[in-house]
Symmetry: C2
Amino acid sequence: MHRSAIVLLSGGLDSATCLAIARVASYTPIHTLAFDYGQRHRSELILAKKLSEKFGARHRVVSIDLRQFGGSALTDDIDVPKDQLADSSATQQRDATPPVTYVPARNLIFLGYALAWAEVIDCNDVFLGVNALDFSGYPDCRPEFIASFQQTARLGTRRRNFTVHAPLIDMTKAQIIQRGNQLGVDYSLTQSCYDPVERSGVVLACGHCDSCLLRKRGFVEAGVVDPTRYV
Amino acid sequence: MHRSAIVLLSGGLDSATCLAIARVASYTPIHTLAFDYGQRHRSELILAKKLSEKFGARHRVVSIDLRQFGGSALTDDIDVPKDQLADSSATQQRDATPPVTYVPARNLIFLGYALAWAEVIDCNDVFLGVNALDFSGYPDCRPEFIASFQQTARLGTRRRNFTVHAPLIDMTKAQIIQRGNQLGVDYSLTQSCYDPVERSGVVLACGHCDSCLLRKRGFVEAGVVDPTRYV
């Protein structure tokens, strides 16, 4: 019997790897869910679509407007910090202040939509590409949060076996890239930059935001060639 | 020091009473949050605005499209059941099948947005008008779900003291109406019907859906005159 899965796919490196992991684990069909939430880096939505096609997944984009509440550099006119990669050991503390790129309750809302869709299509498995480095100060990327969400979802729906899979949660960026590389992920179809620029129709990563710095370092540590086009 | 609150306000009888309870508990300012989610009974949104003005609350409507997933008589072209009020003792069972008017993961998504807003305005208290009768088969109206959501929210944000208040949860519809009546709620400004009709600009309740049947019985049992205009 086939088991379907829903993969939350942002178009970033992590969620693309997550999609490859769900695919190799034989979930079928795979549904991918992306969100147009007024993010600065909307070009990732085009990549999410391309990645879905590549992996034979059924893709859906949900428009939600998180800008109406504000409070994040990713959706507001707040400057994205540059060249100041936070020390991950310090920011992984429970009480660390999240960085300005934190979007309030984003993963909870994203998982809520995934759960609604799962309920309708009778699916019990949702994949989310959060990982150890991501939870540098993002409270909604922590394992306790994921486990608690899963419990809340089981209580609030008919999905008694609903499971949130976070296969990357204990992996470093380098390990994620190595795994994805083994699984044939084309990382030129992914984008991590919080503040990309478009020049002559080509999207270039800034190379200096938190996310670019983590990505660059990840490729170096993984010993994999970084296909990213930087400014 | 003043404590602010966010009240999830649908324009129905329960959430209107919930707003009055938050007001009398001296929360200030009170923010009310309504959702335009493609529901059939959109006239309730107008009432939510009127109620907010009456209670001096700051009102906001968030548009979210739950129709894209489907799966509910409240958002799809599925007939709303009439004249068949479920036996609440039977449907309150943990494994009862929710009625077709159940909208998948609705309260989780609504609470997720409330949490996002709470995070931005530094608010710790959200009021939700779920009650004992409402959880006739709606898994996301149960106390275990509410408690679990609260825990998930605390883990996933900076809101360590985030609290979901569900003051109606153990009350019958009659008790809710009596309490609201004491607090001066004008129930003519509320709407419960799942399938209202508009005639000459006046919105009339069908009088036969689950929600109308519960409301009618509630007013009778409360000994309060029902101001609802039925077809």
